[in-house]
Every structure is written in C-alpha cells, then in structure tokens.
C-alpha cells in the first residue's frame, strides 16, 4: 500500500513536472513567437528613423514583413508550432500592409504546419483556417473561403475559448453569403454572431457594434429600409458614445445611413451624411478603405445630377490601391460607366460596363 502510495505520489510528481516542463516550453514558444512579431514592429520604427536604419533609403512595411517572414522560416525551421504562429500573425499583417496574394504563401504554410503539428480539430488550426479564408475571399474565391469557415466553425463550437473566433467566422460567413446574394442566410449567420458577441466581447465593444452595422447592410439588401435605418443609427450612436466622434469605424454606418436615406428619398440628408462620412474617412482611413465610400458618394452625386462633382470624386480614386479587390474594382468601373452614360459618352460607358462585368464575374467565381 505504502509502495503504491509512493509510486502514485511519484507518478503525480512526474506528471506535474511534465506539465510544468510543457508549460515552460509553451511559454518559451509564446515568447519566441511574440518576439518575432515585436521584432517586426521594432524594424518598422527603426526604418522610420534616418539615423537608425542600415540602408540609405527606408524599407517599406511590405519589405520589412517579408524579411521577418524569411527570418522566421530560417530560424524556426525546427519548431513548426512556433513557426506556424509567427507566419499566421505576420501573414495577417501582410494582408493589410501588402496584399492578400502576397500573404497567401505565409498563411497557407501556417495552416499546413498547424494541421501537421496539432491535427485538424484544434483551435490554432481553426484560426489559421479563418486567416486563409479571409485571403481566399479577398481574392474572389468565395467557395473555398466558405468551406474553410464552416470547417473552422465546427472546430470552434464546442470550445469555450473559441467564442471570439466563432463570432468572427460567423461574421465572415455572413459577408460571403451577402456578396453571393444569399441575404437571408447572411442575416442568420450575423444574428448568431451578434448573440454570442454580447458575451464574447461585451455589448459596447467595437466588434460587437460593428455587427450592428453589418446587420443594417443586410437589412438594406433585403429592402427593409426602416429597420436598416434604425440599425445604422444605433451603431453610430453606440460608437460615438463609447469611442468618440473620430472613431474610424464610424465611417461605415454613416455612409450606409446616407445610402438608406437616399433610397427613402431624403436626398439632402443623404448627401450631407455621406459627405460627413467621406470627410471623416479622409482623416482616419487609408486610401484603400476610402475607395468604396468615395464610389458610393460619387454615385449619389451622379444620381442627383451633380456630374462634375461626381467626376471629381471618381477621379480622386487611385486604382493601384485596389488592384487586388475585385469587389471594389467592379463597383469602381460601374460608377465610371454610369457617369459616362449620364455624360452621354456611350462608347466610354460601354467599355467601363464591360470592365465592371469582368470584375464582378471574378467575385462570383
């Protein structure tokens, strides 16, 4: 009995020691992973300073990111779990700071490494699936993106720590359903996300409020204009109350409220709301994010006959900034086509309509 107790105690001790060793190793990996990401941030700041950088000209954020990715691949080659974490984090940054296609290689590698290290039914693997789905969706491959997100959702669902990524995956699915014309399904995904977001984030968290904006967009697509109007107003007041009047995400519900006001025949209010949204957008958003707002504003100006103002707004949009966004390009060329039509330049309009159609076909796949 004493022997049993002793071996049992030893077993527990060994088990506890193993847990401690695993935890220490995990902490080491976490530190290593976050170290790589913070190295990237430090490199960014060094490049901004003429006296700190090593080259004559500063490296661009995409170049620094690519260097950090190459460095991680070389130094963490024997530690696939840490490498996967770093590649996924840097890849997510690459989507925003470079382009979705530039990020695809790192994020796909992260997904493969996670599958290999942790298996399919794992939180990290599911998170990498979501990152990869974002890239596929941004590149117009909505089918693959939807498949990935549904797989990730099934993994997140039973995990209590999976609540926030579950909300994100539901929200992304709602967006894919929306852009592929399934507004009813989109609203179901979004309402599921909203219900969990209140506990996962808290009702006043910007991510929870963003879902109200997205809900308004779907209600608008379903022609429920008064409901959409109310949803956008709710999002605007919640952002203003919790984040202040210059909060960047305010631009989305403001612009959409303007669009609903327009459909309701409230043209003066609509243009005023949209102008305020674009003005705020110019202050707080990057050029890429500003594109859709500028296109919408130009369309509204055109529809009330302010053609030269509309042309000015359209001409201010920089195409290189949106070269990998078929959705933005489709709307951009459609706006140009409609403007050319209203200016009685029918041949030009036809060319622009064809471009809009070609890009729209890339979205639908």
């Amino acid at each position: 009995m004493a022997f049993l107790a002793l071996t049992s105690a030893a077993g527990v001790s060994i088990y506890q020691a193993e847990i401690a060793a695993t935890s220490a190793r995990r902490a080491e990996l976490e530190a290593s992973s976050s170290g790589r990401v913070s190295d990237f941030a430090l490199a960014m700041f060094r490049e901004l300073s003429a006296t700190s950088r090593t080259g004559a000209t500063p490296k661009t954020p995409p170049q620094i990111l690519q260097n950090a990715i190459n460095d991680a691949r070389a130094q963490l080659a024997k530690d696939p779990a840490a490498l996967a974490k770093v590649l996924n984090a840097l890849g997510e940054l690459q989507i925003e700071l470079d382009s979705p296609s530039a990020a695809e290689s790192a994020v796909f590698e992260a997904l493969a490494l996670n599958r290999q290290t942790h298996g399919e039914q794992n939180l990290e693997t599911a998170k990498a699936m979501v990152s990869y789905a974002i890239i596929r969706q941004k590149l117009g491959d909505t089918q693959q993106a939807e498949l990935m997100l549904n797989q990730a959702l099934a993994i997140f669902a039973p995990l209590t720590v999976g609540q926030r990524p579950w909300v994100m995956a539901q929200s992304l699915l709602a967006n894919i359903c929306r852009i592929t014309g399934r507004s009813v399904a989109a609203l179901q995904h979004l309402d599921a996300a909203r219900a969990i977001a209140k506990t996962a984030y808290g009702a006043d968290h910007p991510n929870a409020i963003s879902l109200e904006t997205n809900r308004g967009i779907l209600l608008k697509a379903l022609d429920r204009l008064p409901d959409a109007h109310a949803a956008f107003e709710l999002a605007i007041s919640a952002y203003q109350r919790t984040q202040g009047a210059s909060f960047p995400r305010l631009v989305w519900p403001m612009m959409n409220l303007g669009s609903v006001q327009e459909r309701q025949g409230q043209y003066t209010q609509a243009l005023s709301t949209m102008r305020a949204a674009v003005t705020l957008g110019k202050r707080v958003l990057d050029a890429n994010n500003l594109v859709s707002f500028s296109v919408n504003y130009a369309n509204s100006l055109r529809s009330v006959g302010a053609l030269s103002e509309a042309a000015d707004v359209i001409d201010s949009i920089a195409i290189p900034d949106i070269h990998e966004r078929p959705d933005l390009l489709s709307n951009y060329y459609l706006a140009r086509a409609m403007l050319a039509h209203d200016q009685r330049q029918l041949q030009k309009a036809e060319v622009e309509f064809n471009l809009a159609t070609a890009w729209a076909e890339k979205i639908a796949g």
């Binding site: 399934r182 022609d223 204009l225 055109r302 209203d342």
Partner: protein, 125 residues
Amino acid sequence: MDLVRWQAAQSSLESATKILATLPESSVYTRTAVKQIRVRWLMHSGQIPAALVLLQNAIDELTAISGDKTLEVLQLQALMVQLLRTSEPANLARAQQLANAIRDTLDALAIHPAWAVYLAVAASP
C-alpha cells in the same frame, strides 16, 4: 442605338435574367434595374402592351419599398412617359400629365438628374 447595339443589349439582358434567376433574394432595386432594360427592349421591339404592364409592375413594387417621391420611382415614371407617347394617340394626354407631375416633384426636391433631359424630349411635341 443601332441594331448591333440592341443585339448586345438583348444578350446582356438574357445574361442578367439568368443571373437573377439564381439570386431569388436579390433586392427590389436589382430586379427593377433588369426590368427597366427589359421594358426598353420590349419598347424597341414594338411590344408596347407588355412593356406597359411590366413597367407598371416595377413602379408599384419599388413604390411599396421606397415611397413615390424617390429618384428611382420617378425615373421609372419618366420611362412610362416615353412608353405612353409611343403607344397610341389616346395616351398622349396622360403622358403629358405624368411628365408635368415628375417635373414638379423634381423641382420640389431641387434635384436635376441627367435622365430628366429625356423627360423633356419625351414631353416635347
């Protein structure tokens, strides 16, 4: 528009109709845009009664969503003016009345959309 352009328009219309058939939840605004092209095609090919029915249906559907004082509805009404003028002489007075009503509404809204030019042409003798 010459014959070649009308053929292209018809082809686009058929494509749009096929796509719409796969999108049963599409917004009334999307469906109306396609109906508008079909009305123009029916008008061009002399099928005026069918065009009148389809256009009235589009106007009713959109009005139910947005009210009757919106640019989208007024633009459809302007198309109705053109259609009435090409139908039969008995409809000319109705076309004129409708054109005046649209112009009054646009003036009240202080809005002068590009398509209002066609309204003036349609309303002229």
